[in-house]
C-alpha cells in the first residue's frame, strides 16, 4: 500500500513536466506579444525599449533555453515574476489559492451532505413521488446557469432580505485572522476569534450553496444510480436473513458499498470547483485563484499563467491520487490488487 502511494507520487513527476512543457510552449506560440501586453502599444513602438525589455526577461534566448531556465528556477520554488503584478508568481498563488480552496471545500462538503442522503432516498423509493421529486430537483440544479442563479440569489437574499452578508470573504469591519492555513474559517478558530469565524462562515454560505446546486445535482444522480446497482444484490438479502432490519441493512451494508463509486465523482467535482469558480469569484468579489487567472489571461501574464496551470495540474493529480487511496481504504478488493502488484 505504501509502496503503491510512493509509486503514484513518482508518477506525478513526468505528468508535471509534461504540463509545464506544454503550457510553456503554447504560451510562446500564441500570437499575443507579452511585450505589447506589458508595456502598452506606445512603448512597444520603440525598438530600444522592446529590446531592453526582452533582454531583462530573457525573451531573446532560444525557446528551449528559456524552458530550461524556467525549470531550474521552478526547482527552487521560483515560478518567475508576474508581468502584471510585479510580484513573484509563487507569492501570488499562495495569497490567492486559500480563498478558492476554502470555497471549494465548503461546497464539496455541503454537496456530499445533501446528495448522499437524497440519492439513497431516491433509490430506495424508486419510482415513487419522492424519487421523482429528487430527480427533478437535481435536473434543475444541473441545468440552471450558475451566473443567473448567483445574481438572483444575491438580489433576493442579500439586497432584499438581507439574511446573508454580501460579497467578499469577511465583513469590511473585521481584519483577517493571522495566516496559518490561509482559510479564514480555520485560522480564526486557531486564533480563537469567534466573530471573525462567524463572519467568514456566513460569507461562505451563499456562494457555496449556489455552487452546490450544480455539484450536488451531479452527485445525487450518481449516488442514486450507484445505490440502484447495490440494492438488488443478494448480500443485502443475506443481511436480512440474519435478522437485520431494513434500516440496518441499508445503513450498514448497502450505503458503504454504494458510496465507493461516488468518491470518484466527488474527486472530479472537487477538481472542477478548484479550477472553475471564476464566475462565482467574480460575482462575489472573492479574491481567489479564478480572479487571478482571469487577470493573468487578460494581460498575457505568462509566468502567472504557467504557474496557475501548474497549480491546477498538481491539484488534479493529487486529487486523483487521493481518490485512489480512499478507494483502496474503502474497498478491500482494490487493496489486494495493489498488494498483488507489489509482489
Amino acid at each position: 500500500m505504501i509502496g503503491y502511494v510512493l509509486r503514484r507520487f513518482a508518477l506525478l513527476v513526468p505528468i508535471l513536466l509534461g504540463i509545464t512543457f506544454v503550457t510553456f510552449m503554447v504560451s510562446r506560440a500564441i500570437p499575443t506579444d507579452p511585450v505589447v501586453a506589458a508595456l502598452g502599444q506606445q512603448a512597444a513602438d520603440h525598438p530600444k525599449i522592446v529590446a531592453s525589455y526582452r533582454e531583462r526577461w530573457g525573451l531573446n534566448k532560444p525557446l528551449l533555453v528559456q524552458y530550461a531556465v524556467y525549470l531550474k528556477n521552478l526547482l527552487h520554488g521560483d515560478l518567475g515574476e508576474s508581468i502584471y503584478t510585479h510580484r513573484p508568481v509563487a507569492e501570488d498563488l499562495v495569497s490567492y489559492m486559500p480563498a478558492t480552496i476554502e470555497l471549494a471545500s465548503f461546497t464539496i462538503v455541503l454537496s456530499a451532505l445533501i446528495s448522499v442522503p437524497l440519492g439513497v432516498l431516491a433509490a430506495i423509493k424508486r419510482g415513487t413521488f419522492v424519487d421523482l421529486a429528487v430527480r427533478l430537483l437535481t435536473l434543475v440544479g444541473v441545468a440552471m446557469p450558475i451566473f443567473w442563479l448567483a445574481l438572483a440569489a444575491l438580489e433576493l437574499f442579500y439586497f432584499r432580505f438581507g439574511i446573508v452578508p454580501g460579497p467578499g470573504r469577511l465583513s469590511p469591519s473585521l481584519n483577517p485572522p493571522p495566516t496559518v492555513t490561509g482559510l479564514y474559517t480555520v485560522d480564526s478558530l486557531f486564533a480563537g476569534r469567534w466573530r471573525t469565524f462567524y463572519s467568514a462562515a456566513s460569507h461562505l454560505i451563499l456562494p457555496s450553496l449556489i455552487l452546490a446546486t450544480w455539484s450536488a445535482g451531479t452527485l445525487t444522480r450518481m449516488t442514486r444510480t450507484s445505490m440502484l446497482l447495490v440494492l438488488p444484490q443478494s448480500f443485502l438479502n443475506t443481511a436480512r436473513s440474519k435478522g437485520a432490519s431494513e434500516t440496518y441493512t441499508i445503513l450498514r451494508h448497502a450505503i458503504p458499498n454504494a458510496v465507493i463509486p461516488v468518491i470518484t465523482i466527488l474527486g472530479l467535482v472537487y477538481g472542477d470547483l478548484l479550477t472553475g469558480v471564476i464566475l462565482i469569484e467574480t460575482l462575489f468579489s472573492w479574491p481567489g485563484i479564478g480572479h487571478y487567472a482571469y487577470a493573468a489571461a487578460i494581460y498575457a501574464d505568462f509566468p502567472a499563467i504557467i504557474g496557475i496551470t501548474l497549480v491546477f495540474g498538481v491539484s488534479y493529480s493529487l486529487l486523483n491520487l487521493g481518490v485512489d487511496i480512499i478507494y483502496a481504504v474503502l474497498d478491500p478488493r482494490i487493496r489486494s490488487a495493489m498488494s498483488l502488484g507489489r509482489r
Binding site: Q233, N237, P256, P332
Partner: protein, 700 residues
C-alpha cells in the same frame, strides 16, 4: 405427539409475481410439513418455483413477488401475516438461509468474521469480542484451516468452497432449529461439493438441525434428505420418503428426471430417457396437467384437469396415470443394455482396433498465462495453465476431459482450436504440424475443427437470425447460398429444431434451443473434429439429457470425432470412449473411459468419482472426501501437484513429480503409487474416511 405442531408447516402457499399482463402465479399451492431434525429436499428445474417457495417461507421474496394465499406456520406461529419486526427476530436466530452464489451473497467490503458473527450481534446474544471468537470456532468446526486469519479476510480472498462454508457458519452460528439451503453446492467443484454435502449432512444428523435443501439435482438431494418433494411448474407433483421416490418414482416427471441422469450402470452409446421439450414457461401453462405436453403417459384427462396430490403408498403424487393402476412403471425404467446396443458397442471396439486415422495429437503442450497485473510497472506472475500435456484422438473416438475449475481443460480446448497460443510443444492435426499455422492456412484448418461453447447465449451474435448463424461457417468456407440454405434446414432438422426456427433471433430461443443451434453450427461443414467445452453445464437437467442424446446420435451417424470437456464426470463417462483426468494443468490419468471409471488408478480420479452421487457405486468402493481446495496454479506444490490433497501422499511425492506410466493397453497414470486405493489393503482405504471426518470433528 400427533397434536404437537411440526417445526414448519406450509399449507397451500401461493406466490404471484407482478407481470405485464397482471399478477402471475408462480407458486400454486405448495404444502408440506417438516419436523425437528428432519431434512426435506425440494427438487425441480428452473422456473419450478422452488426458490420462491423457500423465499416465501422467510418472507424474503423479490420486490415483484408476494404471497397471495396460504399459510406458513413455524412452531405454530403464522409467518405470512407476521409483522416485519417479528420476522427479523426469527430470521438468523430460528430460521437461517444458505444461498447459492456465495460471492454475491457476502458483503464484498466487510471482513468475513464480522459477517459470520453478525447474527449474534443482531439478536443481542453475544458481544463483539465473544461473537468473533464464536465465529472463529464455527469456521474451524466446518474444517476451515487457520480461522483466526480467515475472519480478518475479505470474501474475494476466499475460494468458493471456503466462502460457502463461511455462509453455512453464518447460518449456524445462532444455532437455529431450521436451515434452508438453496442450491448450496451448485457452481462448486465436485470434490468441494462433496465437502459441503458432508457438512450439511452432519449438521442434520449430528446437530439435529432441520433442513430444507433446494436443488435441481436429485442425486444431491437423495444423499441427505429423509423426504423429497419434486416441484414442477409451481406445484409439488410428488412427495414421499427419499428411498421410496428414488426406488419407485410414481410421477412420470420424477421418473424421467431420474432416468435423464447418466448413471453408472448405463452403457455408453445407449440413449438417455430424456424428457422431451423444455420446462414450461410459467406465464403460458397448458391447461390440465402442466407436464402433459412432455409426458409419455398422457391421457385425455391430463389435458383437461390438473391432478391433485393424492396419497399413494408412502408418498403423495399428482398424476392421473399413477392414479389409474400403477402400470407403465416398468415401461419407464431404463432397460438393461439390449443386444443391439451391445453389438454396437462391440462394433465400436472393433473399429477402434483397426487403428483408424489419428485426427489430433497434442504433444507435450505447455501454456503459461501471465496473471494480469492491474498496475503499471509490476512484473506479472506466471500461471501454469497447461504443463506438458499430451493427448491423441483417433477418428470416431470421443475423448472426455474432466477436471475441476482451473485444471486447464478450457485452455487445452482453446489451444486445440488455435484460439490460444502455446508456449512449448506441438499440435498435430491429421499428421500435419499446425502449431504455428497462420492466416489463410489457419482459416482452412478451422474448417475442419469446430467449437461448441458453454454459454449458448454469449456465443451467438444476438443480431443474427438463426438461419445466418447456422450458415455462417459454410459461407465463410465458400458455400453457395442455395447449398447453404438446403444444408441449414437439414441440420436444423437433425438437431431436433424445426426449420421454422430459422427466422428467429437467439434471444427468442430457450437455453436448450440455443445450444442446439451451437451444435448445428458446428456440424454444418462436416468437420473432422469437434471440440465441445462444457456444452451442457448451463442447461436444465432434463434438457442436458436431450443434448447428450444429440451427441450420441451424432457419434453414431457421422462417426463424429469429439473432444468433450466437462466438470461433470457423469456425462463425460457416458459420452466418451476415452477419458483424460486433469489436475492443475497436468493430465493425471488417461485411458478407456469404462476402464478408468471402473478401476481408477490415480487417487484424484478415485476422489472425483466418489464425489459424484450417481457414480459412486461404480467407481470407488469407499467415499473419499478431499480436504481443502485445489492449490493455486500460480505456485503449484513441489513434486506431485496433487500431493497436498492426496490421502496417500508420501515423502517422495513432495520431491519428484511422478512420471507418467503407460501400460500396454495405452492407459496412462501419473502417480508414484498408482492404484494404491485398489491394491493397498482394504483397511488402508477405510482408514481414509474416519481420519478425515475425525479430524474435522476434533477441531469442532
Amino acid at each position: 405427539m400427533a397434536d404437537a405442531p411440526s417445526l414448519l408447516e406450509v399449507e397451500d402457499l401461493h406466490v404471484a409475481v407482478r407481470a405485464a399482463g397482471g399478477p402471475q402465479e408462480v407458486v400454486r399451492g405448495v404444502s408440506f410439513k417438516l419436523d425437528r431434525g428432519k431434512a426435506i429436499g425440494m427438487v425441480g428445474e428452473s422456473g419450478s418455483g422452488k426458490t420462491l417457495t423457500t423465499s416465501a417461507i422467510v418472507r424474503l421474496l423479490p420486490a415483484a413477488a408476494r404471497i397471495t394465499r396460504g399459510s406458513v406456520r413455524f412452531k405454530g406461529e403464522e409467518l405470512t401475516s407476521a409483522p416485519r419486526r417479528r420476522l427479523s427476530a426469527l430470521r438468523g436466530k430460528e430460521i437461517s438461509l444458505v444461498v447459492q452464489d456465495s460471492l454475491a451473497s457476502l458483503n464484498p467490503i466487510m471482513r468475513v468474521g464480522k459477517q459470520v458473527r453478525e447474527p449474534l450481534l443482531l439478536h443481542r446474544m453475544l458481544n463483539r469480542k465473544q461473537g468473533t471468537a464464536r465465529a472463529a470456532e464455527m469456521l474451524a468446526s466446518l474444517g476451515l484451516p487457520d480461522p483466526m486469519r480467515l475472519i480478518r479476510g475479505y470474501p474475494h480472498e476466499l475460494s468458493g468452497g471456503m466462502r460457502q462454508r463461511a455462509m453455512i457458519a453464518t447460518a449456524l452460528i445462532a444455532c437455529p432449529p431450521l436451515v434452508i439451503a438453496d442450491e448450496p453446492t451448485t457452481a462448486l467443484d465436485a470434490t468441494v461439493q462433496a465437502q459441503i454435502m458432508e457438512i450439511l449432512s452432519r449438521l442434520n444428523c449430528e446437530m439435529g438441525v432441520a433442513l430444507i435443501l433446494v436443488s435441481h439435482d436429485l442425486g444431491v438431494v437423495g444423499e441427505i434428505c429423509d423426504e423429497i418433494a419434486v416441484m414442477y411448474a409451481g406445484r409439488i407433483v410428488e412427495t414421499g420418503p427419499t428411498r421410496a421416490i428414488l426406488a419407485a418414482p410414481k410421477h412420470p416427471y420424477t421418473r424421467a428426471l431420474l432416468e435423464s441422469m447418466p448413471t453408472a450402470n448405463l452403457e455408453r452409446g445407449q440413449r438417455l430417457k430424456a424428457i422431451q421439450g423444455e420446462p414450461p414457461r410459467i406465464e403460458a401453462l397448458p391447461s390440465g396437467c402442466p407436464f402433459s405436453a412432455r409426458c409419455g403417459l398422457v391421457m385425455d384427462i391430463c389435458r383437461v384437469t390438473e391432478p391433485q396430490l393424492t396419497r399413494r403408498d408412502q408418498g403423495e403424487v399428482a398424476c392421473w396415470a399413477a392414479e389409474g393402476a400403477g402400470n407403465g412403471t416398468g415401461a419407464y425404467r431404463v432397460t438393461a443394455p439390449t443386444a443391439t446396443a451391445k453389438a454396437a458397442a462391440q462394433a465400436d471396439d472393433a473399429t477402434e482396433r483397426e487403428d483408424p486415422e489419428e485426427i489430433l495429437r497434442v504433444e507435450a503442450v505447455t501454456r503459461h498465462f501471465r496473471a494480469p497485473s492491474l498496475l503499471p510497472f509490476v512484473r506479472p506472475t506466471h500461471v501454469h495453465a497447461l504443463d506438458d500435456v499430451s493427448i491423441a484422438v483417433r477418428r470416431g473416438e470421443t475423448l472426455g476431459i474432466a477436471g475441476e475449475t482451473g485444471c486447464g481443460k478450457s485452455t487445452l480446448a482453446n489451444c486445440v482450436l488455435r484460439l490460444a497460443d502455446i508456449d512449448y510443444g506441438r499440435i498435430v492435426f491429421r499428421g500435419r504440424d499446425v502449431t504455428h499455422v497462420e492466416g489463410e492456412e489457419l482459416r482452412r484448418l478451422r474448417r475442419h475443427i469446430q467449437p461448441i461453447f458453454q454459454d449458448p447465449y454469449g456465443s451467438l451474435n444476438p443480431r443474427q437470425r438463426v438461419r445466418s448463424l447456422v450458415a455462417e461457417p459454410m459461407i465463410a468456407h465458400g458455400a453457395t447460398a442455395s447449398e447453404s440454405e438446403r444444408r441449414v434446414s437439414e441440420v436444423l432438422q437433425f438437431v431436433g429444431l424445426g426449420t421454422h426456427i430459422a427466422d428467429q433471433f437467439p434471444h427468442e430461443l430457450s437455453g436448450g434451443q440455443r445450444q442446439r443451434i451451437g451444435i448445428a453450427r458446428a456440424i454444418t461443414i462436416n468437420p473432422d473434429l469437434i471440440v465441445a467445452d462444457e456444452p451442457i453445464s448451463a442447461l436444465d437437467v432434463s434438457v442436458q439429457a436431450q443434448v447428450l442424446n444429440l451427441f450420441v446420435d451424432l457419434q453414431k451417424q457421422f462417426a463424429l470425432t469429439l473432444v468433450f470437456i466437462s466438470h461433470d464426470l457423469r456425462s463425460v463417462r457416458y459420452l466418451s470412449s476415452h477419458v483424460a483426468i486433469m489436475f492443475l494443468g497436468k493430465i493425471v490419468e488417461y485411458g478407456p473411459s469404462e476402464e478408468v471409471c471402473k478401476n481408477p488408478l490415480h487417487p484424484y480420479t478415485v476422489a472425483l468419482l466418489s464425489s459424484v452421487p450417481g457414480l459412486r457405486q461404480a467407481g470407488a468402493r469407499e467415499r473419499i472426501i478431499l480436504r481443502g481446495d485445489p492449490p493455486s496454479p500460480v505456485s503449484p506444490p513441489s513434486g506431485c501437484r496433487f500431493r497436498t490433497r492426496c490421502p496417500h501422499a508420501a515423502s517422495i511425492c513432495a520431491e519428484l513429480p511422478p512420471k507418467p506410466r503407460v501400460d500396454p493397453t495405452g492407459r496412462m497414470v501419473a502417480c508414484h503409487f498408482p492404484g494404491i486405493v485398489d491394491t493397498a489393503s482394504a483397511g488402508d482405504v477405510k482408514a481414509t474416511e474416519p481420519r478425515l471426518s475425525g479430524a474435522e470433528v476434533h477441531q469442532a
